[in-house]
Every structure is written in C-alpha cells, then in structure tokens.
Symmetry: C2
Subunit: 498 residues, 2 copies
C-alpha cells in the first residue's frame, strides 16, 4: 500500500525526532557524566547530528511532501492538521539557514561554552569576550535570516524558537507592569518580613546520599516514574533526556539541603510535563512540548505554587525532619515555610526568590535585545549589567562571576530565552489558580501529599495537549483568559503580605 | 580553495564517524545506566542513526568521490591510501544492503535482545526462539548479499565485519590444532593442579566501593586516563564509548572481588588500545581499531599474559591486601596466583579459564556456522549445545540459562564474532612473547608495577598503527611471523605445567 504524502512526512519526522532525541541524550551525558577529555569529540558529534538533521529537514523532498500533504489535508483530523502546521513552522524557519551556518553556530557555541566554564570561576569576562562575539555574530546572522522570512523583528524571530508565536510587544507590556509593581511591593515584603521572627537554617551536614533519597521520595510522591527517568548530578541543574527517559539533575550542598531539594522538585515539574505529552504523538512535532514558557510554568507550578506553599510543607516537614533526624525549631513547618518563602535581593538569578526573580529576567531581556539590535556591544556587557542590577535591585555584583558571567545562556547561544522564565512564573500562577477553582480537592490533597487531582487537571488541560494549539489558546481554554499579570501579583500579595 | 575528492571523502567520513560515535555513546548508556522504560525509544534512536549512516555511506556521491579519489591517488601518502582502501571496503559491503534491511535487522536485534533479557534468567529458550529466528533470517539475508558481492562463503562474509580479511579456512586449521591439543593438556593440568595445595578464596564481604577504588588504582597504574574515560557498572561488562571517551564497565560481587578485578583489567586492555589509536586519524576508517581479534588480543594481553602472571601479582598482592585489610594465607602472592590461574571446566564462557575457554569458542563457532549454512535450525540449538559441551568439556548444563542462553551475541545479531576471542588469545600470546624478547625491561617492569616499556612497545607496534595494514601483516611486522598456535600452546604449558 502506498503511503500518502502526510504519512511519508510522519515517517520523515519520526527520523528527525529520533536524531533529536539522540542529541538530547548526548547533551545530558555531556553535562552530567562525560569526562572532560571527551569535550572535543562530543562537540563534533553534536554539530554533525545537528547538520544531518538540518539537511534532512531542508531536503527538497521534505518541502514537496509538505506541500502535497497540505494540498490534500481534507481528510486529516485536528491533530494531524496541527502536526502539519507545526511541520510547516519548523520547516520554514530551518529553510532560511544554510547548513554551514548551523554547523558554525553549533561549534561556536561549544567553543564559547568551553571557555566560559573557566572564565566564570575566574571572573574573567575578557577571556570569553571574543568567543561570545563569534556566537552573537552568528546568532544575529541566523536571526536576521529568520526575521526577514517571517516578517518579524530579529528579537521576535529568535524568541519564536523558544516561545512559538511569542512577541516582544506582549512581553514589554507585562514586564512594564511588573517593573512598576515590584519595587514598592518588594519594599513592603521586606518590611513585613523584618517584622516576623527570622527564619532559622537547620544545621548540617546533610550527607549527599540522604539528600538524594529525600529528593527521590518526593519525586515519587509527585508521580515521577524511575522506570522512565533518572536523577543525577550536574553543575547546572536541568531537565534533559527524552519523554520516555527523562533525566533531571541537581547539585548537592552538604551544608544546606533546602536549595537542592527545591531544585529537584522544580525539575520534576519539567519532567512530569515531558512524561505527560501525548503518547500517541511521540516523535511528531504536534506531540512536542509547546514552548519554554509553558514548560517553565510546569516546573514553577510544582516548585513555587505547590511545594513552597504552607499546605505542601505541612505534609513535607515531618518527612524532611525524619530524613535527616532533625530536631528543634528549625525543623518546624512554619520555619521551613519561612525559609522557603524568604525574600532577599541577591546577585544570582538561579538563587533568587520569586519576588526578585523578574528583575533578573527583565535585566537580561533588555540587554539581549540591545545586543541583538546593535544598541549594545559585547565589551559594554559588564558595565551595563552592573548598572542594571543597581537600577533594578539596588545591588552591584562584587565581580562578573556574580554578574554577567553567571548564566550559560548567551555563551551557549540561547538568545531570546530569558523572558520565558517570568512568562512561565505568571502562567504557573494562572494555571494553578484555575486548577484549584476547577477542582477543590486539589489543595487539601497537596496538604496530605496526594497530588493525583492536581496532575489529573494538568494532564488534561496542559500535558496531553502537546502542541495541538498555541500557548495563548491553551491558556484561554484552560483558564478562561489570556495571560494576566494580575493573577501572579495576587499570588505574590497573598503569599508575602497576608 | 576547492577540496579534492579525497578531502571531500574525508569530510564525509568524519561525519559518518561522528554519527557512529553517537551510536556508541547511546549504546553504552543503554547498557550501563538507561532506565528500563527508555528501551523502545532508544531502539528507535539507534535504528534511525544506523539508517542515516547507511544512507550517507551509500549515497551516490560517496561512490563518485571514492572513484575520483582512487583515480587520483598518486599524490596520497601511505596512510591516505590505506584510508581509501578501508573506505572502499566499508562502502562495498554497505552497498549490498538496502536501508530497509539495515533498519529491520537493527530493530529485530533490539527486540530479540529485550526478550532474551527475560528469557535468560528464566531459562526459557522457547520464549526467545521466534525473535532469534527473525534475527537469523535477516542476518542470513544480509550475509548472503555480502557473500555474493565479495565472493566469499556466508560465514566468511559475516566474519569479515569483525575480522577484516579473516577466513574460516584459517580458523579451521588453528581450531583443529587446539581441539586435538586441549583435551589431553587439560587432563594433565588438572592432574598437576590436584597435586598442589588447593587455592583459598579470601573471605569477604568486599564492599563495592573498595572494589571500585582498587580497580581504579590498577587502571591508573596501567595508564588509563580518567580525563578520557569512565568505569561504571553493567550486567555484561564491556568496553564502549569512543577513543577520546572510553567507557568500561564491570559488575561487582561483594562475596568475591577476584572476578571483577580481573574483568576491569581486561577491559582496560581494550580501552588502552582505543586510546592509543593514531590521534591524527581520528574519525577516518584507517584510524579505527583493526578488528576484533586484535582488539581482544589487547585485553587478553593485559589480563591473561600480564595480570595473571606471577610477576604482576608480586606487585599487586600487597596492594590488593591493603585495599581490603586482608590477612593470612589467602592473601599471599602465591595463593592469589593459584586463584588466578585455577583451571576448572565450567558452563559459562565468561567465567572460563584460558585453558578451557577455547572449547567454549569452538562450540559456538561450529554451531553458528551450521546455523548460518542451514545445517542446523533454531529449535535444535539447546540439544546441540548440550551435546557439544559434553563432547568438548564433559559437562551438561543444568539448564539453558547456563547453556545456550548465556551469551548475548546471537540474540543481538553478532554472528561471526565468537572465533575472534580465541584468535585474540593466541595473538596476545604471540605479541607478548615478541614484546618481551624485543625489550627485556618489560617483564621486570611489570613485577614492579611499571608498565611504561610494555605500552611503549604496544603503542609502537599495535595501537598507533590503526588500520594501516591487515591484522596478518601487522602480526608479521610486529612478531616476525603469522599467527602461530604454537606460541599460545607454549604459554599454556609454561604457565600450567612447569
């Protein structure tokens, strides 16, 4: 039996997806367990895989099959039509990039990342300036090509890779709202916090093995299936792997268990989204995660909305205590809650609380736009960073290590990614608010360590939707309205001022 | 500047090699650390990668570049010419296999391996008979296509993938020699052994962490560079990964450290060969390992020739003792040597001593030839196995778990591989004999834990040669003669009867 063009296209994307999954596993390996000396060969493996994928995606046959499938789409169902739409989106963007550029960008990113790994601990921005220049130049070249084809600004063209249909005009509006709300709010929060007893940090040491066992216990309680995933260690925690083999990482500080534990719960949120993607659409673009802000909303929903709540900590505190044999005031629920909702402006984004986090994102968003649009040059980065930190949070980093060298993103070519963190935080607040209203058993469940109702709702309204519709449409369908910064602000006010 | 056809061919093979390395890392991951639920997706990743590599290798352009490069080979040096020869070899064999068959074989092997993993512990050959039938049928299809093109028998065509230019006629001759030598020799060895005091097994438990630390210590002493490799755990120990990131595995028995320790040393021999391949030819066929019997010779040279010797154990025994805090007779050098040279016919190939090991290989070699040539059918395997074990070693396995289900090879599609183990053992004896004669500091060095002279010789005469010449030519160049079973027999007589 002859396959239809649509069926042939599905076969082709099954192959593309398998190659992408291979890349994901190699990338996880590189970050979590690869010996240092494997770096050069790994960069070659990754760039060759990218080039092969790009070549396959851009082959004349793909375009022909796509056109033929679109011309004969009458008999396709809604998922198949959405799959065609996603295939068209990816194909259009890929077609503007020559293979040389894809390979050059992949290699420039690997090279820059390698330099950054040394430059960061040494606070040596100058050392990484030249490789970063190369990354930025190639990113601009790729971004301009996409922008021209899509009729977008260069920033929106790059943003679109992380946040399909995301636009900086929308981001500007919500970020402006936050930027005007947050300074006064932060002042009020710090004042209220100062009036309460100070949170006490439990005293360690907290052996790595015990921290890991505790993380695993909560991962399992949330529904993480270790038959389809792993928990390992990496310098920069992340969620990688593939939907059927999700690999999250963390790092352990034996003097302080609180950060790793919450990090594990955060990555578990990402992992559960991946695992919940529609099984029957594995390997097809419509079965993929929808975009980075929705992805981040799933980790932040678990971490910020659920696991830092009083309810969750009612359930979790005794388990945490038992895990380390903790005794005394520091281990009480109220103190753990105070610790986990402590607000303090700081230098490091990944350590920031949810009140000051948007300031970190807004700074990076403003800077990366300026850099991409030619209004800022690489050598200006350290000064602009420090000025921005002073303006937004009243702090000046002691060195570039705690400043513009702290995040891998730019050095690894992820330009246009940062805003998705704060969009994700707002989306998380909005989804959790809707979920709790739709099913009133969710909140009492959480307080007893029963997350079934929560994930039932998330699965139905988010995870199992894959990329069937846009993030905007999904949010409206799930919550009744588009992204509303007001819900996030209400969440902050309720948690920090009441 | 335009690249010559030869240079373009090198680029193409750099890509093919990078994809092959990606496969190797994914395969290591699957065997060592992948969660079970990732199996299906991983099989898809591996089969798609194989198909892409096959397609790239068999693309019309590859053949055109190859012909053009061969026509203009005058200016190439010896390595480049050898590279062309190896490219021609690989291309010729690949061209006879349609991509469908490559994919079908890869999937059939993954499926059969998955069933085997359950069937083996349950001693249920019937459960795996059908998937094995599928693997054999596809292997025969592929083998016949290669045989026809190369003008070889089907067995030699398959053998050629593991042992380039290896021929069953040569194997028949040396195996016949061993088959007639070994029974009487084994009898004499067992008699001599019975006359000596019985070797004492040190008493455990031997914690995994201590075993690992000890293995690492010896690996480092032998020259394994942990910046370019790892030691992990897998059910079936192997050496995987890539030349710049070699990954060996072992399994630990807390009641008996001896087996894991020697296994680690064995895999270290493989790893050092990979690491020693010519760096300037990374990614090109001429830079690859020469074949499986030479590969096995490097592991067996380290394990059997070096590490089970009295000299090595003089150096190693105190270190082993210290690692476990061992005291008493069981920990003395002579006893450890007696343990490590104990001979006992048994059911399991991977646990066999070097005297009885060839019998295991000869049985599998005879059976796989019969199966491939149509003289034996899948359902006949268990009975033929048990009959062969009785004939060759006087034993009948209690169940198929200790019989025809013990090895992964056939179930995973590795037909024509088994003889390389015993060819490797003979090659190891011959190379070590030549090395000791060429540099008389090698043996005294080993007894003091100094392996520099040994690896200097191996690097020069074996490792750094890559695939510059055939295994036969390399052996003649390194030792002055072709494979000579007499040297192996002399080694056995010296070790076990003097």
């Amino acid at each position: 039996m002859n396959e239809t063009p649509y069926q042939q296209l599905e076969s082709r994307f099954r192959r593309l997806n398998a190659l992408g999954e291979a890349e994901a596993v190699l990338h996880w390996d590189m970050s979590a367990i690869m010996p240092r000396g494997g770096a050069e060969a790994r960069a070659e493996q990754l760039s060759q895989l990218k080039a092969v994928r790009h070549g396959l995606l851009c082959a004349a046959e793909t375009g022909e099959l796509l056109a033929a499938a679109e011309a004969d789409a009458g008999g396709l169902d809604a998922w198949q039509k959405a799959n065609l739409r996603e295939i068209r989106r990816g194909w259009t963007k890929a077609m503007v990039l020559p293979e040389d550029l894809v390979v050059a960008l992949s290699k420039a990113c690997s090279a820059c990342e390698t330099v950054w790994r040394t430059a960061r601990p040494e606070a040596d921005f100058a050392a990484v300036a030249a490789p970063l220049e190369a990354v930025l130049a190639l990113t601009i070249e790729a971004g301009q090509a996409k922008a021209e084809k899509l009729g977008l600004s260069i920033y929106d063209a790059l943003l679109d890779d992380y946040e399909p249909d995301g636009r900086s005009a929308d981001i500007d509006a919500v970020f402006a709202d936050l930027e005007s709300f947050l300074p006064d709010f932060l002042g009020a929060v710090l004042e209220a916090q100062a009036a309460r007893p100070e949170a006490i940090m439990p005293e360690g040491p907290f052996p790595e093995a015990k921290q890991k066992a505790l993380g695993v216990k909560f991962m399992e309680a949330l529904g993480f299936d270790f038959d389809h995933g792993r928990l390992d260690i990496s310098l920069h925690p992340f969620c990688g792997g593939t939907p059927d083999d999700v690999r999250i990482t963390t790092r352990y500080d034996e003097a302080d268990f609180t950060s790793s534990l919450m990090g594990v719960l955060h990555e578990t949120g990402h992992a559960l989204y991946e695992r919940g993607l529609p099984k029957q659409w594995r390997g097809q673009p419509v079965g993929d995660a929808l975009g980075m802000s929705l992805h981040e909303s799933q980790s932040l929903l678990v971490e910020m909305q659920v696991c830092r709540s009083q309810g969750f900590l009612n359930y979790a505190a005794p388990i945490i205590r038992d895990a380390f044999g903790g005794k005394g005031d520091a281990w009480q629920t109220d103190n753990l809650h105070a610790l986990y909702t402590q607000v303090a402006p700081g230098f490091i984004r990944v350590d920031a609380d949810e009140v000051t986090y948007p300031a970190h994102v807004i700074l990076r968003y403003q800077m990366e736009r300026a850099l991409l649009e030619g209004d800022m040059k690489i050598p200006d980065i350290p000064a602009a960073w420090n000025e921005g930190m002073q303006r937004l949070l009243g702090l000046t980093p002691p060195s570039d290590r705690e400043g513009c060298l702290q995040d891998l993103h730019w050095y690894d070519g992820a330009w246009g990614y940062f805003p998705t963190y704060t969009l994700g935080a707002m989306t998380a607040a909005q989804l959790f608010d809707a979920a709790k209203r739709a099913d009133t058993s969710i909140e009492p469940g959480i307080a007893e360590g029963d997350f079934k109702a929560l994930f039932q709702w998330l699965s139905t309204h988010v995870h199992a939707k894959g990329s069937l519709m846009s993030a905007k449409a999904l949010l409206i369908e799930a919550t009744g309205k588009p992204l509303d910064a007001g819900i996030f602000k209400t969440h902050l006010k309720t948690r920090y001022l009441s």
